[in-house]
Symmetry: C2
Subunit: 256 residues, 2 copies
């Protein structure tokens, strides 16, 4: 599995990914899931991938192939982010058309998802989730984050704390926490964590980091978070246990 | 969906459940998922259910039927908790044998899970997860909690804070937080929340509560938690962004 998330904020974009790929529990490897196609001064383009590795790698190879051969349509020639999403969606459709019948026949998961985030000159920050079917949705101020892969473990912290107005540095900590919680609770998501923070209209990636599992910062971050959570229970108001509630959860033996 | 969890601690047991059942998104209803079969002074027995409602209700009806007819084997006659787990497992197998073929034929999920927790006189506290197949596992000091239903959203908070030594009141707050986070992030889990805290060797349930969504305590609890999380980001150490990491997440266009 994998876990990647993107957060499109008023002042910037945060995008993050783990690096674990597994085919069952006995074949676990490290693959980069976050790719940077930015051109400093002109465009910021980030791509995260999840799902069937053979399909996501084929899509990436084709994107890179179009760049290398200077194809008329490539990830750098398109003038709008939604056109890039459309372009990637078409690559996804063609990779699915090529491999899905054989995979489906043998019961192998052929699904793949992409997060595309960034900013082109003349546009606002954009963040898209591209599905296995090649269609895509866009993050909005009401729903500023999008996730792919093993998304459930890391969602509550995002739901509880993120808004469109959250500052990029706070959102980056939130993203790291969301990924770290997922790594802690699910063995199919694992380090290193790649994280990028991009400020709107900068057209330059000045903040990026790759954190290994034993990175001193990550260790300190985890420890501090866990201490804080435990302290929080103590300060949370005591549960007002009530005898009144008793009949409501009584044995059903009286009702049957 | 549903979310229930049990926590078997050194000093007690916490067991909690939401109350939402849904058949698709357009048929959502409230059903109690936590049942108390305790006999004050003699035995504490709690049961939580998740999965196919027709099957879990049939199992509950049969458990209650055996009690009502004073059958030789019933949930109160068995002298050990693992025998009660075995007894419920057999009810599950028989309900599955009855309904699974018809459900499976129409692609309807026939799975069901049960959490069985409590203490019989002469035994320690026990907590079991009984599967659709009727087999079961037991919580241990290394893994003190068990979950059924929509388990992923609420797992990180448990993984990060719970141990066998956690006090029952802290574990109860943790359980409430785990359920509340799940309700917040997934519409298929919903209030009221039923929660029981049992102290070892008391053989009496003195702490139980049923919290509706707009319960003033739950509102205060959520607000306080969200404020605390946001404050936590500010106090968490700043990410040591590093230019050194740059080549690691560079575009793959150079590699292809």
């Amino acid at each position: 599995m994998t876990y990647c998330l993107g957060i499109a904020l008023k002042e910037g974009l945060v995008i993050a990914a783990d690096s674990r790929t597994n085919a069952g529990v006995d074949y676990i490897s490290i693959y980069q899931k976050l790719f940077d196609f930015s051109i400093t001064g002109a465009k910021a383009i980030f791509l995260c991938v999840s799902g069937n590795l053979s399909i996501t790698q084929q899509v990436l190879d084709e994107i890179n192939g179009d760049l290398k051969t200077d194809a008329a349509t490539n990830i750098h020639s398109l003038p709008a982010m939604h056109q890039i999403a459309q372009y990637i969606g078409e690559k996804v459709r063609s990779a699915q058309a090529c491999h899905r019948p054989a995979l489906e026949k043998d019961g192998i998961d052929y699904n793949c998802n992409f997060l595309l985030g960034g900013q082109l000159y003349g546009e606002d920050i954009k963040l898209y989730l591209i599905y296995s079917q090649g269609n895509f949705i866009r993050a909005t101020p009401e729903t500023p984050f999008l996730q792919i892969g093993e998304t459930k473990y890391g969602k509550p912290i995002l739901d509880r704390t993120l808004t469109y107005e959250t500052s990029p540095p706070d959102a980056a900590k939130c993203a790291l926490l969301s990924i770290d919680s997922t790594m802690r609770s699910n063995i199919s998501v694992g380090p290193p964590v790649n994280l990028i923070m991009y400020f709107a209209d900068s057209f330059e990636v000045q903040h990026r980091i790759r954190l290994e599992n034993r990175d001193p910062y990550l260790i300190e971050f985890r420890k501090k978070w866990e201490v804080m959570l435990r302290e929080a229970f103590i300060t949370m108001p005591d549960i007002p246990w009530s005898e009144l509630a008793k009949p409501e959860i009584e044995s059903t033996s009286d009702d049957s």
